[in-house]
Amino acid sequence: MTIELDRDFLPEEDDDENRRPGTASAPGRHSANDPVSVAVKLRPPVRIGIEERFHNSDPDKKLEVSKTKLARRLLANRKLQFLLILPNQIVFWTVIFVGLFGTTVPGLNFGAAITWYVWFCLVFVMMVVVGRAWCSMCPFGGFGEWIQRRTFWKRTQKALGLGKKLPEPVARYGFLIPVLSFLILTWIEEFFNIAGPGNPADTAWMVVGIVSFALLFFLVFERRTFCRYFCPLTSLIGTVGSMGSVAGFRTKDRDVCLQCKTKDCMRGNSKGFGCPWYTWPGSADSNLYCGLCSECYKTCPEGNVGLFVQKPLTSVVNPSRRRADIAWAIALLWGLVLYQQINATNVYTSVDNWLNKEMSFVHYPNPVAYTGLIVALAAVMAGVGLLFSKVLARKDLNYVQAGDFVDKKSKFRAFFLPAMYGLIPVVGADYFARQLPKFFKHSARLVPAVGHLFGTGGGTASSVYAFHIINNSWIVVVQVAIIGLGTLGSLWAMWRITKRDLIPVSKNAIAVRMATTSLVLVCGLAASVLYVAMHAAS
């Protein structure tokens, strides 16, 4: 039988300059022999610009953790993610049932206690250390995915549901959609005082709401459209998570990925599903959209995908492509966390009360004040970006207005985007610090709350119930320290970002360094001062 080898990618048709040296297309390596190849004449893939685009963000080959035998065994196992999701699934169904049918004392109700005293804090730690670790074990998305795939872990071929694509007009706003849903959810949470925690049933209903919402999206859209575009938490995990030290699943040799003609990691094959997060290991430049589900690791026919770790803040500093949706998300999230600090002050309380009276709105939080303040704070950040671009930009900068929301280039964006990326550590630290009081004051209540499920533990009278890990004054100290740490992180990140992204577009290197450094310091200071003020208020 005569086999005509694929004519695509054959050396004589390759543009030599366009290929990385030493990576000549090895015949047979990618020849998923195709009997049809007599007529197949694919263009060779473009390789120009790869070096510039990815050399910053490609992980250090030495930092691959999937090299060890145990890691490889684990990652190749289809049950891995199921086993990660299962405990969380059990906990969250318990939260729902105990929340609805258990005691109404929030501190004694296991559902409310574990969610607000412990879980939220843990998620923050995970995202700062790892990135999307939570996503790999999330019971909400996990539940939807089980139903969508009609299996707990097996590779199935036919999905349940409509499998729609998210329409382009929505998808183009990328990260702004989950920020919006996070803002709405936070407002609801504040309005019903769910996270206080208030009535445990409200916590249960919130979880039920998220699960149902997730399930709905999993049944209407394909893959993890919910997780990527709508999940409220994804806005935080995707931004703050970029501080994390796990780079996610990345290509080991990009040329192998480019020559691959089947893209099993994106389409899925017998060993696994195509990437549920719409991420290609061949072009991932940060941990932003890697859900750590390991499907690409399982599917790659070349074993060319590895799990990499990275130095902290790498995904903040290094990506060459700065996305506008991320920058705006950071500005809005910064606005939200500042709002949550400001709302504890006496001044805000009187403003909110006054507005509610004028608008005949029931009670805190007034929606106008809520959105107004957040948008105003985000606008301040944008204003700073604008100011930078007006004052600092080189005169000869000239961007052609083209592209879409995520990628359009302009003078303003040239300053605003990198500056926002640089603020990620301080924003992340602020969110984290805000969770600490509940953790330090009440996390011990989990013990009587668990006991209460079994009718023991002493209830509110137990000494553990009232146990505070540290007292209020120390909490503020820790909070300010965390902000300090975040500020230091931001200073470092901003220093690097300024050097790479801002100095080349500025007329004066020292001026832009001073401007960005001051921005970080002002933000850090503002958050710290507010914590002290909050403490005084409480």
Partner: protein, 752 residues
């Protein structure tokens, strides 16, 4: 491809292309595009390129023609195209309407009359870099290639491109159901537009260029092959074998060669002149044809004694019989008898009386006469036949019946939505006055004095294509009928099937084989309404599976192809099988006694590795293979397709061991599933190894058992303890294992 050649390519594509409708607009979702370039390497018109700064694809709407292959091939659904298909009107050739049906055997479907017409149609082809039409074509004709040759008005070149993969383009272009093959899979069709008239263009070549004889090789091989049957599969096999210098004897049970294409397809679809062309040429090229020579299953062994190889291509020509009460009455016949009688009669100019007499039709009984409507009462329609089935054969029967002035009704118990006949053929039949009743089945054949007089029909109901219809016995109706023709399809001769189990074989689609197809986008959409919405991707993958099975003999020197292998299929599939089988056969014959050399041997080392140890051992084995084995490949089983397996002279198969330390120990399930999914491996030499942690138990035996079931010969087994995999000791063991399996290799393989 350099930029210059890309420009030349586009110039050629657009030379006659006429844009129509609104200009499409390409939107690449910047948020979701991962820059994988699947669209960039496949866009026919270069309307997608890489924005290397952002590393995402960017669209150039001004170049876009709206074929949407990018949309189908994008793994992340990140491309949206708005706007019309920039596609000129298909040259719709009006089929001839027969003015007078009686005895009319003129071909109805028309071809392009001149170059201008053909050029206009050829210009609609985009010459896709990853052409889905070629995957849709069962024999993988280089469709963009021959269409480009038509545009250059070089029919010789076009014919020679076709000749590489097809020896009967004149026949295929007339009888193929292009809608579920090439045209259904045309990029325009998958974009829900009107596909390029590939069939008509193929026909244009053959109408205007005399097809070559088989180019008989000057170098005669001492290879004698017997072929049982003379249908399309046998023709292609004989053609290829003759070209390669073999001597071929063909045994046909009928009095003339050609099988179904000669007696099964009426002249108004496939003129006799064309249907008989291949055999005229084959006989002229020296193929020995023995007609009226039926080979019984019991004679196969003696044939194998006289010939080097035997190919069974006896087709599936046994008509399926109805089980309705009354089927033993006089006046019940089958499609084969009906069509053969009609053809003989028409060939002699047509004579109703003789035809009716041959079929045993006499004056209708009283019972029928009462019910005959007035229009039927005329002499022309004095008899009415009932055709059981509404597939393509049933249409042929009914339309032939109309050519003898008979009234004809076809019934089929499936719903019209799920009908298997080509919709265009159904329309043609209706146009000729055939009544076609779907959702209707035969309840009982009524008789008068043992002679068919009518039929009792029942209504049926069918909700889904994959569900059998329900018969509603409370809704019966009667119909006067003079002749019942069973045209419900064919099956393979049970005599052969019982001697050669498990024939016909199932066709299965595996992931490994489908990945390239998925990448081309053929699986992402169904054919357009113009091509009747067939699921061409799945159809073509199933055809591909059969084609890959053909390359392995059924048993020693015995090959089975075409309908005999897979049950009733199509002319072009059988032809593709014949060609593939002949090539594999010659290859195995050309294999030389290479006792002392490995020159040209093909070794496939495949593994399922979890932590990399198995892969390491696989690579070590490959390292010990003598350097003269040029064709040694090491691959993960995810990467191996049936084609690789078919080609290998020696296959080394390694797996990691699954399970707890003591319980459920065995080869990886993935590996076992993979082996189970392979086609037959007759006489294939296979050697097995595994890497284990604690105790492999009987893992290798489990693998061996399943390989033996498939007909393979296991020539070596080795279990390597994973923790010792990289020691010198193990290396020695692996070296001797490799040496041993090579010593037990099949010594005959192709020297290159």
């Amino acid at each position: 491809m350099t930029i210059a050649s890309e420009e030349t390519r586009l110039e050629a594509v657009f030379s006659g292309f006429q844009r129509q409708g609104t200009q499409p607009v390409i939107t690449v979702v910047a948020d979701r595009c991962a820059g994988c370039q699947e669209c960039v390497i496949r866009c026919p018109v270069g309307a997608l390129s890489m924005d290397t700064g952002r590393w995402i694809a960017q669209g150039h709407s001004d170049l876009c023609v709206g074929c949407r292959q990018c949309v189908r091939t994008c793994p992340f659904s990140a491309i949206y195209i708005e706007g019309d298909l920039q596609l000129g009107e298909r040259s719709l050739l009006e089929d001839r309407e027969p003015e007078e049906l009686l005895y009319n055997v003129d071909e109805l479907r028309q071809g392009f009359q001149n170059f201008e017409e053909a050029y206009a149609e050829a210009s609609r082809c985009l010459t896709c870099p990853d052409p889905t039409c070629v995957r849709g074509c069962p024999t993988h004709n280089d469709i963009p290639g021959f269409i480009a040759a038509i545009r250059e008005n070089d029919l010789g070149k076009a014919a020679s491109i076709l000749g590489k993969t097809s020896c009967m383009p004149d026949i295929c272009s007339r009888v193929c159901n292009q809608a579920s093959q090439c045209e259904g899979a045309c990029s325009w069709s998958l974009a829900q537009g009107v596909p390029v008239a590939i069939g008509k263009l193929e026909r244009y070549i053959t109408d205007n260029f005399k097809l070559d004889m088989p180019k008989v090789s000057e170098e005669k091989k001492n290879l004698k092959v017997a072929i049982v049957g003379s249908g399309p599969g046998a023709i292609a096999a004989a053609w290829e074998l003759t070209q390669q210098g073999a001597s071929v004897d063909v045994f046909e049970k009928d009095d003339r060669p050609g099988g179904l294409i000669v007696w099964g397809i009426p002249d108004f679809t496939l003129p006799a002149e064309i249907a008989t062309r291949p055999w005229r040429q084959l006989e002229a090229a020296g193929v020995n044809l023995f007609c009226n020579h039926k080979i019984e299953p019991s004679e196969i062994d003696s044939l194998l004694g006289k010939y080097d190889h035997v190919i069974l291509a006896y087709g599936a020509s046994l008509p399926i019989k109805t089980s309705a009460p009354g089927s033993d009455h006089r006046g019940v016949t089958d499609a084969t008898t009906f069509l053969q009688t009609a053809q003989t009669n028409l060939a002699a100019g047509g004579n109703k009386k003789e035809f009716f007499a041959a079929l045993g039709l006499s004056r209708p009984s009283l019972n029928g006469e009462e019910a005959l409507s007035e229009s039927m009462a005329s002499e022309e329609n004095s008899y009415h036949i009932l055709v059981l089935g509404a597939g393509n054969t049933a249409m042929d029967v009914a339309r032939t019946a109309r050519r003898f002035g008979l009234g004809a009704t076809c019934i089929d118990w499936v719903d019209e939505k799920f009908a298997i006949a080509r919709p265009d053929e159904v329309a043609e039949a209706r146009n000729e006055g055939v009544e076609i009743l779907f959702s209707t089945t035969l309840h009982e054949i009524l008789a008068d004095n043992g002679k068919v007089s009518g039929a009792e029909l029942a209504q049926t109901q069918q909700e889904r294509a994959d569900k059998l219809p329900k018969v509603l016995t409370n809704r019966l109706s009667k119909m006067p009928v003079d002749l019942v023709v069973m045209a419900m399809g064919y099956r393979i001769d049970p005599g052969f099937a019982s001697v050669f189990p498990p024939l016909p074989r199932n066709r299965t689609v595996s992931w490994q084989d489908s990945m390239r197809w998925a990448a081309s986008g053929i699986l992402a959409a169904k054919a357009s309404p113009f091509a009747y919405g067939a699921d061409v991707g799945q159809l073509s993958l199933r055809r591909e599976d059969a084609l890959l099975q053909v390359g392995t003999p059924y048993r020693d020197r015995l090959w089975v192809i075409g309908d005999a292998l897979i049950g009733p299929a199509t002319v072009v599939e059988a032809m593709a099988h014949g060609k593939q089988c002949a090539r594999s056969l010659v290859r195995s014959f050309d294999a030389e006694d290479n006792k002392d050399s490995f020159d040209g041997m093909k070794v496939l080392v495949c593994y399922d590795s979890l932590g990399g140890t198995t892969k390491h051992v696989a690579e070590t084995i490959a390292g010990f293979l003598p350097e003269s084995i040029a064709g040694a490949t090491v691959k993960s089983i995810n990467d191996v397709n049936k084609f690789d397996v078919m080609e290998a002279d020696l296959m080394v198969c390694g797996t990691w061991i699954e399970g707890m330390i003591l319980a459920k120990v065995g080869p990886s399930k993935h590996m076992m599933r993979w082996i189970a999914g392979l086609s037959d491996l007759y006489d294939k030499r296979v050697s097995l190894f595994c890497t284990y942690g604690f105790n492999p138990k009987n893992s290798l035996e489990k693998m061996e058992a399943i390989f033996l079931q498939k007909g393979a010969k296991v020539v070596g087994k080795l279990a390597v303890k994973a923790s010792d995999a990289k020691t010198k000791e193990t290396e020695k063991t692996v070296a001797s294992f490799t040496a041993e399996m090579l010593s037990k290799r099949k010594v005959k393989f192709l020297k290159r």
